[in-house]
């Protein structure tokens, strides 16, 4: 028994390391009589925490087993997605260090909240139990609500935090209610038990279907899928840009993994109605995101709508994984897409962060005019990032979409893929607009002021990574595939 417990604790050691390191800056602040520690030190401690967690995850990868009575699982998906979340967090910390709204007197608390949010995300990724999933979502979200509000006295930021908090609590309540129904019908909250009985219950038991629908809605809120997407533009717009970058990427990555784990069953094969509903949600999510993004003049809002659209694309892969006969192929494409989406979104938000001079300034499209004359390297990077978001070869974004759609085509979901392609075409319009503004205007460009060394580095780094990984996408895909199918 004790040995078992020890093994379980070893398996969650990345979480423990992360938690311990996240406490350090706050403790330093307390012991120094409430004086803010040197932000460089805080940032450094944050990086140590992340690298420790990454190292421990790497050391444990391949364990492929469950712990704590099956409540958490450590498999290939866990390892890969953990790396992604740690990478996103490292980049988001760098952006926050540079950004006017987040550096300052509460950077220690900021780092604590961000790392705690990561803790919630990793729990969500590891989760093999609906209760643990719920707790992971709550830990992640509560930190985010506060992070959103931490732009010092920006009205938009407060509004965003409040909206997110109230709507998020509502979504959590729905999610919890769904768990109650599922527990009531299945008699267990552990994923393997639920997935085993999906096949029989989904066509016979209405209560189970209601529970499943509610849990789906809870996930849909977190990843901003159609009926519950309305909070996204306001919250993404109002939150400090580094936090927005973090939310748009890490939250989506971790929540989609938990969502994906709920679909790892053959039992969904006959649930045609459920599949239809999800397909329509995916199509409407793509359409609403893309059409609304076309109409935006504010760069950050446009990216918010574009992130809704990308949730729609990922839903295509999710449906292919859940309702087809090849879960692993679908899951691989989703994870690959999450990687590419996270990289390009981080880079683009980093550009937005650079343009924000004051706390409540917003970046209009017009401010990008003539940028190429003054900042050629930055403009080139932004161009690569936007082309990748639009899915134009040979960037990583193209291959992400390609694998996603081919996973769906393998399952004969032509209709869904058709909508995906139509939407990609719509999206090209608004992704090209900033590029046209940057290169085809002779206006005197806006000057970028303030410290932004690390932000600049992030933009160039992500753009370079997108091109490099795009060119060697097939080995990367194979690596992901191997870890998903557990062939170590």
């Amino acid at each position: 028994m004790n040995m078992q417990l020890l093994q379980d604790v070893v398996l969650v050691s990345p979480l423990i390391a992360l938690f311990a390191m996240s406490l350090l800056p706050v403790m330093m602040k307390v012991f120094q009589g409430n004086r803010e520690p040197n932000p460089y030190v805080t940032l450094f401690i944050g990086f140590i925490g992340l690298s420790l967690a990454t190292g421990l995850t790497a050391a444990l990868s391949g364990a492929d087993k469950t712990a704590f009575s099956g409540a958490i699982v450590f498999d290939g998906i866990t390892a890969w997605m953990s790396y992604l979340v740690y990478l996103i967090t490292a980049v988001a910390l760098m952006l926050s260090f540079d950004h006017v709204a987040t550096r300052g007197r509460q950077f220690a608390e900021f780092v604590f909240l961000m790392l705690s949010s990561v803790l919630g995300m990793i729990i969500l990724i590891m989760s093999n139990d609906l209760i643990v999933t719920f707790i992971g979502i709550e830990t992640m979200s509560l930190c985010l609500y506060i992070l959103c509000a931490m732009s010092k006295e920006d009205v938009l930021s407060k509004e965003a935090a409040f909206k997110y908090f109230i709507l998020g609590s509502f979504a959590s309540a729905i999610f919890l209610y769904g768990i109650a129904f599922i527990y009531g019908t299945v008699g267990s909250t552990i994923f393997p038990d639920i997935l085993e009985s999906v096949g029989t219950l989904i066509s016979t038991n209405t209560l189970f279907v209601v529970g499943l629908a509610m849990v789906t809605l809870g996930f849909a809120f977190k990843v901003s899928v159609f009926p519950l997407h309305a909070w996204t533009p306001d919250v993404y717009h109002g939150a400090p840009t580094p936090v927005t970058a973090f939310m748009a990427t890490a939250v989506k990555a971790s929540t989609f993994v938990a969502f994906l784990r709920l679909f790892e069953s053959e039992g969904y094969g006959d649930a045609v109605q459920f599949q239809n509903v999800l397909q329509w949600l995916a199509v409407l999510t793509m359409l609403i995101g893309n059409v609304a993004a076309v109409m935006q003049d504010n760069f950050k809002r446009m990216l918010a709508y574009s992130s809704i659209a990308h949730s729609g694309y990922i839903m295509v892969g999710l449906i292919a994984a859940g309702f087809g006969n090849n879960f692993d192929a679908g899951a691989t494409s989703v994870i690959f897409y999450l990687f590419s989406y996270a990289l390009m979104t981080l880079g683009t938000f980093a550009v937005v962060a650079m343009f924000e001079k004051a706390e409540n300034s917003t970046v209009g499209m017009n401010e990008l005019k003539g940028m190429a004359n003054r900042y050629p390297l930055l403009s080139l990077s932004l161009t690569v990032l936007l082309l990748s978001l639009a899915g134009i070869p040979p960037t990583l974004g193209f291959f992400g979409k390609f694998y996603l759609f081919s996973a769906a085509i393998e399952q004969d979901m032509y209709w869904l893929v058709l909508w995906g392609v139509i939407n990609s075409v719509i999206s090209v319009y608004y992704y090209l607009r900033p590029i046209v503004m940057m290169y085809m205007s002779d206006d005197v460009p806006v000057e970028i002021v303030g410290t932004n060394g690390m932000t600049r580095l992030t933009v160039i780094f992500t753009a370079a990574l997108i091109v490099v990984l795009g060119l060697m996408s097939s080995p990367v895909l194979k690596a992901v595939q191997r870890s998903v199918t557990n062939l170590f």
Binding site: F68, A71, L113, T139
Partner: protein
Amino acid sequence: MLELADYTFYFLAALVLISGIAVITAQNPIFSALWLALTMIGVAGIFVSLDAWFVAGVQLIVYAGAVMVLFVMVIMLFDLRHEIHAFSRGILSGFLKLASAGIVLGLIVGTVYRSAETVFAPPPVETDKMADVTKALANTLFTKYIFSFEVIGVLLLVIAIGAVTLSRIRGGTHASHD
């Protein structure tokens, strides 16, 4: 055929639902908090009807405390002179206040009076059902659900630090107070 237990459940469920709706529709924040207390009592009643005595007790103790905190917050954060005035006027409400004070007093006196016998009596030997349920709950909580339990500890820490962080934000319109 409905049995007594069913009637109890439907009564309690209706109570919880109605008072839950009243929490969000009440205009006066004080009433809102009171309705919330009633909701909690109803939920505790449902737990009792399920023989989950320990959970019911925890529900009452913890949420009674939470409602008290809510009261303090409400009184602190809002300017409630008008509402408090409206709340504490009239013969009926005066009678209710007297009556509830009397009930509480009676309960306390009764408990003290009755407990004298039990305190000095020898302790009962058999462990009753209640203790069994509590033990089973503790066993599940600290073995099967230990991970969730520990993570909730982290969650509470996040809430504590987050609340302090939010209240200490300075800058913008707050800057003038520095």
